[in-house]
Amino acid sequence: MSDYTLGIKELDSVIGGIKKGSNIMLIGPPMSGKETILYSIMYYGATKNENAVITVSTRESATHILEWFKEQKLVLPLARVGIVDCVTKTLGGASVENENIKIASSPVDLTGIGVKISQFFEEYFMKKNIRKTQLHINSLSTILMYSNIQTVFRFLHVFTGRIKAAGSLGIYVLESGMHDEQAISTLKQLFDGLIEIKSENDKNFIRAVGLSPKPTPWFEYEIEGADVKIVGRK
């Protein structure tokens, strides 16, 4: 039996499940639907696989994310969903923490973000006894805008290590085309695999590298609402 699945059937069956303790970079161009893909992984993980999912959001406020799911008529099991919101305080919005939402002071405050992540881990692991937890960071690109590559590398070094120790799954979103190749390859050494997205002639493709003996083929996908539908194979 596999440890973690993404919920994109065609991709999961080629990968054959993701080993626990894996850290994966989700990389693709802007506006290719990375966010929706991440949310669908989150939804599938939390509902179908009963994983706990911790999302660090530097792009959308926590309230926004939860509203998005509501708009899509998807019911998130809130007992297993935690969001570290790095946006609200920076924008000066009202910041109320609750069971699902923890507020970090800014995307620069990696120490604070780290504390919030650890608190969610403790809660799911120790108090709720959930053994499978996913950590999604959306996105590394924003964090890299505020902190230099060494700093982000050190942060990730600690947290990819924690993911391994806890037998969790880490997914880290990166915009392609925004960072130099050297930065990306520096970060790549921390990851076990990639989920890669590309856009060609108005079509979007996805594949996984490093999660199976060979890279999976490119799958063409379309996003409808919250659904990531595979419509073809290259």
Partner: protein, 389 residues
């Protein structure tokens, strides 16, 4: 000497931090350690001192908000408290603070402002909210060098320097310099990790003005409240009708019981906040059919109160049996000789004899319903758990 206001830490440090000295909170990533700097500065202001807070990872307003979350009104110290704003310029925002670092990623610019503050201000407590952020922006070697000269200058002007430092995987050299060389004192703030971090502790790694004391304390962070020493779980057990629930309720700041027909069938749960210690208290039912619950709770507890009815020696056999169950878990325990107010109550010495217990086992006389003896018992148990620090 300034006090940190962190329970036990001042005691460990021989009263606090002497003027002219520097101290670093060396924080493991993921552990809620930045509160240490906040609590230190707040306490020194509260005691009439002056303070400077160097903000480098967020805007000063958010730091003020953090003080408020802990229930600390920082505004009332406004003529004795300043921010050094080393963040707003980073995001291109204007700043209203007295001291502003215009290029927070340039150590010379940073150092100039810090030096000015050190030289201009009367002796103050200067807290760096995040030394790691400064290192991240200015470089490891450069920052280490600057810290060295800041600490030297602070010594001349009688300031107390306090740094929060998150120990990300920096170079060995940097970490070693921070632990061994740059500061007069190093307080490690760490997490107890099995597969995830589930407990937090602090301890003195070094302090050159006092005898080194490497003992550590568990803590929790309360909002409001700040740092509280923390004893995860304490079990209260004892035979039927010995007064366990009364004891739990008497000890607790808040408590609930799950009971039927006046006796506890599931458990009592309470929470105590006393002299800087915070603990969860669980009372077990007394009847034998509930023994599995005792075993279950013992697996997670850190200490045990065994409550006995001093007027009812026939129950001592059962009490002893219950003690055996918890003893297999190697937990420290204290015996509560309850109902001392009733006629015919045996004295602790007589109970010791009946139980055949050695002298080093504490038996505390108590009247749980009047709250007599119970806090004394709590202190004795805490001493046993923490090794009598």
């Amino acid at each position: 000497m300034i006090e940190t206001g962190i329970p036990k830490l001042d005691e460990f440090l021989g009263g606090g931090i002497p003027k002219g000295k520097s101290l670093v909170y060396y924080i493991q990533p993921g552990v809620e350690g930045e509160i240490f700097g906040l609590q230190t500065i707040h306490n020194s202001l509260k005691k009439g001192g002056r303070g400077v807070f160097v903000v480098s990872s967020t805007i000063p307003e958010i730091i003020k908000g953090q003080f408020r979350e802990f229930g600390w009104d920082i505004d009332k110290f406004k003529d004795k408290f300043f921010f050094v704003d080393a963040y707003n310029s980073l995001i291109g925002a204007p700043s209203n603070e007295k001291y502003v670092v215009s290029n927070p990623d340039n150590i010379e610019a940073f150092s100039k402002i810090i030096m000015n503050a050190l030289k201009e201000l009367p002796p103050s407590t200067i807290v760096f909210g995040s030394l790691s952020t400064i290192i991240d922006l200015c470089g490891e070697k450069e920052t280490m060098q600057a810290v060295r000269s800041w600490n030297k200058t602070a010594k001349l002007y009688d300031h107390v320097m306090v740094y929060n430092f998150t120990a990300w995987p920096y170079s060995e050299e940097t970490l070693k310099a921070i632990k061994d060389e740059l500061f007069n004192a190093v307080i490690s703030v760490g997490g107890i990790a099995e597969r995830v971090i589930f407990g937090q502790y602090f301890g003195i790694f070094k302090a050159d003005w006092t005898n080194e004391n490497k003992k550590s304390m568990l803590f929790r962070v309360l909002r409001p409240g700040g740092i509280r020493l923390y004893i995860p779980k304490i079990l209260v057990t004892g035979p039927f009708d010995s007064g366990k629930s009364t004891f739990v309720h008497a000890l607790s700041t808040r408590a609930i019981s799950v009971d039927r027909l006046g006796t506890t069938v599931a458990l009592d749960h309470g929470h105590i906040d006393y002299k800087g210690f915070s603990a969860d208290i669980f009372g077990t039912p007394g009847q034998e059919r509930f023994d599995p619950i005792i075993k279950l709770l013992s697996g997670e507890a850190m200490g045990v109160f065994l409550v006995v009815d001093s007027t009812n020696p026939t129950d001592f056999v059962r009490a002893k049996q219950m003690l055996e169950i918890t003893k297999t878990y190697g937990l420290p325990y204290v015996i509560i000789a309850n109902k001392q107010d009733l006629p015919g109550a045996l004295s602790p010495q007589e109970i010791r004899k009946q139980f055949n217990l050695p002298e080093d086992v504490s038996i505390i006389p108590a009247v749980a319903k009047d709250k007599t003896g119970i806090f004394e018992a709590f202190e004795v148990l805490i001493d046993k758990i923490t090794g009598g620090i």
